[in-house]
């Protein structure tokens, strides 16, 4: 793995205007994030935490209100022409393969569509469209590819449809895939096969992936690093084995306890609903739901006033483990 990230966010903010004169929603509120070559990064959080907005902004589908997205060290330029070139290098794979595929397009047409949009520059070493489509289908695990050319989405299983969507992304030889809940709509037994495909693509083609998910088990299965997002910020990040085996942020701890114990007695179930990005609490944004504050742990550590009044700030990005929590001040980490 080279040291330089291929895709990164620096000081990224995305704000949507408030509804009916309400406060604007700060969906992404100061995010630094790096995806390195051949790296699988899992971006984890509940719905409404801003993870999908962050992914869309990284794709160039939303314009940041502040900060920038960089690809290969160069800030993204939002002219139509550069965005088009950019989207060949960074491809999006959506959650629901049935909704992403046009029911009246054959598998061949679905996969060839990207090539036709991007024209000659997308063909690379392959002279013709058919060879390119066949190659993408077979890399996505649909073999022999010719057998799938003339089939339609309704003739395929859910897992096969998701493979077609992935082939449609691979046909343009992207460097990075951004996958939003790639297995959430698939059957449990099929899920593993699609995740194995992500691992194989990284192995064979050095593809990087940003996998957006609410599923910590998925992160454990495939990711190298994990970034936990809460209300527009990354609150904890680092290598999967560090973060998922010894989480420090009370929010990560709660998510993990629910992922491992479900509703069982060992689970730390947070009360209330995921909060509103139009009303981000003062101090630490997690403090109204924080179990460490509720249980007195924060008070015993003498940080309770800080929890209520001081924003722990945005994490720096990069590969190191980091946590935005007053219980773990950065000074202590360095010692």
């Amino acid at each position: 793995m080279s040291a330089e990230p291929i895709l990164s966010a620096r000081g990224l903010h995305v704000t949507f205007p408030g509804r009916r004169g309400g406060q604007p929603a700060r969906a992404v509120d100061g995010v630094n994030l790096d995806v390195h070559p051949s790296e699988i990064l899992a971006l984890v959080g509940e719905s409404g935490c801003g993870k999908t907005t962050l992914a869309r902004t990284l794709m160039g589908l939303e314009r940041p209100s502040a900060g920038e997205v960089r690809f290969g060290g160069v800030a993204l330029d939002y002219s139509t022409r550069s965005l088009r070139a950019y989207r060949r290098r960074v491809q999006l794979v959506l959650q629901d393969p049935t909704g992403s595929l046009n029911p009246r397009h054959s598998v061949y047409e679905a996969v060839a569509e990207g090539l036709r949009i991007h024209g000659a520059e997308a063909f690379g070493s392959f002279g013709d469209e058919e060879a390119k489509v066949a190659d993408a289908l077979s890399r996505a695990g649909l073999r022999p590819p010719e057998r799938f050319f003339r089939r339609y989405p309704h003739e395929l299983s859910g897992g096969q449809r998701q493979r077609v969507v992935i082939a449609g992304a691979l046909v343009l030889d992207p460097r990075v895939i951004v996958a939003d809940e790639p297995v959430a709509s698939l059957d449990a037994s099929v899920r593993g096969e699609i995740l194995k495909l992500l691992l194989a693509l990284r192995e064979d083609s050095g593809l990087s992936a940003l996998v957006v998910t609410h599923d910590l088990g998925l992160a454990w299965n495939v990711a190298d690093r994990v970034a936990v997002m809460y209300l527009g910020r990354i609150v904890e990040t680092g290598p999967v084995e560090t973060i998922l085996r010894s989480p420090r942020h009370p929010y990560t701890q709660a998510l993990l306890s629910v992922a491992s114990a479900g509703a069982g007695s060992a689970a730390v179930i947070l009360g209330g609903e995921p909060p509103d990005p139009a009303r981000i609490p003062s101090g630490c944004r997690f403090h109204p739901r924080c179990p460490a504050l509720g249980s007195g742990v924060a008070a015993a550590a003498g940080v309770e006033p800080a929890c209520r009044a001081v924003d722990p700030g945005a994490l720096p990005g990069g590969r190191e483990a980091a946590v935005a929590c007053h219980l773990f001040p950065p000074l202590v980490e360095r010692l």
């Binding site: 509940e46 719905s47 299983s157 859910g158 897992g159 096969q160 059957d187 449990a188 037994s189 099929v190 899920r191 593993g192 096969e193 995740l195 194995k196 691992l199 609410h214 599923d215 910590l216 088990g217 454990w220 299965n221 495939v222 999967v240 084995e241 998922l244 085996r245 709660a254 998510l255 993990l256 629910v258 992922a259 491992s260 114990a261 479900g262 509703a263 069982g264 689970a267 179930i269 947070l270 009360g271 609903e273 995921p274």
Partner: protein, 306 residues
Amino acid sequence: MPALRGVELAVEAGQKVGIAGESGCGKSTLALSLLRLLPPGTEVTGRVRLDGEDVLTMGWGRLRAVRWAAASIVFQGAMHSLNPVRRVGAQILEPILVHGEGGGADPGRRVARLLEDVGLAASAAEAYPHQLSGGQRQRVMIAMALACSPRLVVADEPTSALDVMVQAQILRLVDRLVTDQGIGLVMISHDLSVLTSTCDRLVVMYAGRIVEEGPAGEVFTAPRHPYTAALAAAHPRIGDRASRRNPGGLPGDPPDVERLPEGCSFRPRCPVAVAGCELVDPPLWPAGAGRRVACIHVRPVEPGAG
């Protein structure tokens, strides 16, 4: 086409039974058949007994009385099951007025009580469904299901559209209400870990049949049927070395019920299939205390032992 093929299931008062399986395995058909909710023309054979009374043969009047009052269903999409233009309180009140003796002198109080039981403010009765979050709507559905104090609640994927944290809140709520009120619960999900955290017993279905059943914890942590093992591995235990960078899964897809393979329906995807699997579709054999498994590998030593 047969969606269910010889399913036997017993739920006792206060017991929580989880039914696991993938789309098309027949688990929702099973749920609907329990209350005769399948579309007209569906052929259902066998017996469904609710407190000893056969649901499949009872008259319409009796069936209407039994639904809600004796047994109720919580469906998965609360958004689609609630009427968008009626206030939540009125919708909870409806089954009470139609079926219940539960209303008593003051049905409004009963609605407020039910809302509080599911963790909502009594004032939520005045809200329309769109004013509530997904988790709150699912709580309303649960309040409706409990409105007439039923003996049995069938919950079909009650949490699958919800976030992990809200899902855990709802599961804990269902668990508490069912235990407190001694209600029998049949919970259906594709997620074995969700069922294991809530239920006493687990039933795993594949291609319209039960392939494994037993105490929830044992089935999940020590599955005997290779399909159960694959379902359990689909949701890894975080921290477990074996699943790190090694997602569990099965090649192939669930079978088409119209074209089931010969012999054991799971054979084409089975990692431990042997010669003979294509010959017999194994029945549920006893496999230890309270456990039964339909797999040639657990064939009882003495024939006739089951």
